[in-house]
């Protein structure tokens, strides 16, 4: 795979890692938050941990759209699917996410609700076209990467005059979450691996505030392992040199101003929400978007009387701390006992980008190794 395989070269990785070992100050700790689940996934999948010095630690961030979606939003979607005769379309990633009391979209589907997994927002449009007599609701999630495709679908729906298509919008914004993490100061980190594909859309300039306000080094990093390691080295150098800049390692896909056509499309269809709840982070102001007045016809929250559900998080689940970078998954008492990918108690155990799932599926060998 061009533009993939080159960035997965193990030999180069070891050489780059050696450079990190060389340059690192053995006297201090380096704690870098990988903001994105994509990075979490890559770190575990490729075993990047193993290549890093003992005193360099990756701290997980809230950048997994599945993990930060509050259970109440899923419950509201389930209620909708059960009370109205709608077809609920959603990305497969959401199907197993716990929605409180052991429920999930998967189980609602098993109980008989018409819930369909789609691969693209355009598939949801196709479902709406094929079922003109039924209401089709697209349960949309994602950061800025996934938001423009939703906007595109809404614009097409209006152009076609589709009367049975709406979107239950749960799109969230990266910079507010990052600012929140930094402003709370709990995470105790020395640098940030910045999002790769989100940055493709919003551009590297979007993180200027983070760096300047909180004096935090940030390197926008590709998702391939060499990208991660190179970006880690770049962060090590910023730390060592006392710099706090937005650097862009992922130059092959991220421009300073991002994808302006996609930004314009988002601006046309969406507007900021005054406040939105994030799982783990709580209510964050201006941290999400909603469908604007011009496109209100396509807003499921306006078409249907959707309840605002408050779901208590599971007792013992430390997802909030994991998502804030305060705790590691294996500090959770439920980890790998009550909470497994098969019966996830918190959202971080669901998505393969979730820190707990990645730790469980890929990372357990560490403890195993010590036992063997």
């Amino acid at each position: 795979m061009k533009y993939v395989d080159e960035y997965r070269d193990g030999d180069k990785a070891r050489e780059l890692a050696a450079r990190i070992h060389n340059e690192i100050d053995p006297q201090r700790q380096y704690r870098f938050m990988e903001f994105c689940g994509g990075h979490t996934h890559a770190i575990f999948r490729f075993g990047i941990h193993d290549l890093m010095p003992e005193n360099l630690k990756y701290v997980h961030g809230p950048g997994c759209p599945v993990c930060v979606l509050p259970a109440g939003r899923i419950e509201a979607a389930i209620k909708l699917a059960e009370s109205e005769d709608v077809i609920l379309c959603t990305y497969a990633d959401l199907m197993r996410v716990p929605a409180g009391k052991g429920d999930s979209l998967n189980r609602a589907k098993a109980r008989g609700s018409d819930i369909r997994m789609i691969y693209s927002s355009s598939d949801a449009l196709a479902v709406a076209r094929e079922n003109p007599d039924r209401q089709v609701v697209f349960f949309a999630i994602g950061f800025e990467t996934t938001t423009p495709p939703t906007a595109a679908a809404i614009r097409i729906a209006r152009a076609e005059g589709l009367k049975n298509f709406t979107v239950f919008c749960n799109h969230v914004l990266t910079p507010p979450a990052m600012l929140h993490i930094l402003s709370s100061g709990e995470a105790c980190i020395d640098g940030i691996l910045g999002p790769s594909h989100v940055s493709t859309i919003i551009g590297s300039h979007a993180y200027a505030d983070c760096c300047s306000l909180y004096r935090m080094p940030l390197v926008i990093a590709g998702f391939e392992p060499l990208d991660v390691i190179q970006s880690t080295l770049m962060l090590v150098r910023q730390v060592n040199q006392g710099r706090c800049e937005v650097e862009n390692q992922y130059v092959r896909a991220v421009r300073e101003t991002g994808n302006q056509k996609a930004q314009a499309l988002m601006a046309e269809v969406f507007e900021p929400r005054s406040v939105f709840e994030w799982r783990g982070l709580g209510d964050l102001p201006a941290s999400a978007v909603q469908i604007n007045a011009q496109y209100a016809l396509f807003d499921a929250e306006k078409r249907f009387a959707m309840q605002k559900m408050q779901t208590a998080d599971v007792k013992g689940c430390i997802c909030p701390a994991v998502l804030r970078g305060i705790s590691d998954p294996d500090q959770c008492k439920l980890f790998a006992t009550a909470c497994t990918p098969e019966e996830p108690k918190g959202a971080c155990m669901v998505s393969s980008e979730g820190a707990c799932a990645a730790q469980y599926s890929y990372g357990r060998y560490r403890s195993a190794e010590t036992r063997v």
């Binding site: 490729f46 075993g47 990918p341 195993a368």
Partner: protein, 341 residues
């Protein structure tokens, strides 16, 4: 007997009634294509001769969607799937039974295609379908065609292949490229269509197994990594034998297209289903011999040792990544579904 309009006809409830329409369907479609001396006995049970010794039996329900996919269909798959389960005990498959659950409204022409493909697969494998049954369920209570097959086979003396025999030090062999079947199915699944040359690897592996057990009668384990893929199969063997495994990503063959499709859909080739591959655990000393025998067989040409069995109370499969890191290769959790994140 009533006539069967195979060209334009649809499956009707009457075809499952047990009456004259059922008889017409069985005569005109099933026994016609699957024809063999034993099936021709025409009774509800079929008689065959056996010598004294050990036999094996295995069954599988086949419920694939779509019914026709690149490289096969539910007919050939239902033959291969059960032959392979029988072969994975080291046995020589003898006979198959087939039970069909048809959905009202299914096209008789498509059904005939499936039965012909089943007959061809069975003939090629030399394992006849000797008895069968057909039921019809109402439209909306089935999915076109389900086929359950059961296979029986005989096991030569001295062979003892079982999932609980893996021992620390054993070699782990995989017979070829993994993930072809699952990706071929995904490529033709509604709503996810993509173009690819990938074909299902669906094939009957008993010939390969026969060569293998002849060369190395002391093979410890054989298993076909179907649903759940190689990852799940290896974990099953670890659980049964109470061992762990250390495997090497670089030694596992995955086609570029399969890798590509997996990257696109957020899947992992280790969890993708195969229908013509096997995993084999054998004493390390026999591995080289087995590999050479396997590579001499058309269905084992890319056979390779991919790792070794280790003592591990946690029964973990740990993989050395191409990249140089290590990671746990866990059981499949939930379903393998395309991801966006």
């Amino acid at each position: 007997m009533s006539r069967l309009d195979i060209k334009n006809g649809l499956v009707e409830m009457a075809h499952g009634s047990g009456g004259r329409a059922s008889a017409a369907l069985i005569d005109g479609l099933f026994t016609r294509h699957l024809d063999n001396a034993l099936l021709r006995q025409g009774d509800d049970a079929t008689l065959f001769e056996v010598s004294a010794g050990r036999m094996v039996i295995s069954t599988d329900a086949h419920v694939v969607s779509p019914l026709f996919f690149p490289g096969g269909d539910i007919g050939s798959l239902s033959v291969h799937g059960t032959i392979n389960d029988v072969a994975m005990s080291g046995a020589k498959p003898l006979y198959l039974s087939a039970s069909f659950i048809l959905e009202e409204g299914f096209s008789l022409a498509e059904l005939e295609k499936i039965v012909i493909s089943m007959a061809e697969a069975s003939r090629l494998a030399g394992v006849p379908v000797v008895t069968g049954d057909t039921k019809v369920v109402e439209s909306g209570k089935g999915d076109g065609v389900f086929i359950s097959t059961t296979g029986i086979g005989v096991l030569a003396e001295g062979i003892r292949v079982s999932g609980d025999r893996a021992e620390a030090g054993d070699a782990i062999i995989v017979s070829g490229y993994i993930g072809d079947h699952g990706i071929a199915i995904l490529s033709s699944r509604q709503g996810l269509e993509f173009d690819t040359q990938i074909q299902s690897d669906s094939a009957a592996l008993h010939g390969l197994v026969a060569d293998m057990v002849q060369a190395v009668p002391d093979i410890h384990c054989l298993r076909d990594p179907t649903r759940g893929g190689l990852a799940t199969t290896l974990n099953e063997l670890c659980k049964q034998s109470g061992v762990g495994m250390r495997i090497h990503e670089t030694d596992i063959s995955v086609r570029a297209e399969v890798k590509g499709a997996c990257e696109l859909l957020g899947l992992d080739p280790l969890y993708i289903a195969n229908e013509g591959k096997l995993a084999c655990i054998c004493p390390k000393a026999s591995a080289a011999k087995l590999i050479s025998v396997m590579q001499a067989h058309p269905l084992g040409r890319e056979a390779a040792v991919i790792g070794e069995v280790v003592a591990d109370e946690s029964r973990l499969v740990v993989m050395q990544t191409t990249f140089g890191g290590q990671r746990v290769v866990d059981w499949l959790a939930g379903e393998q579904l395309p991801r966006i994140c």
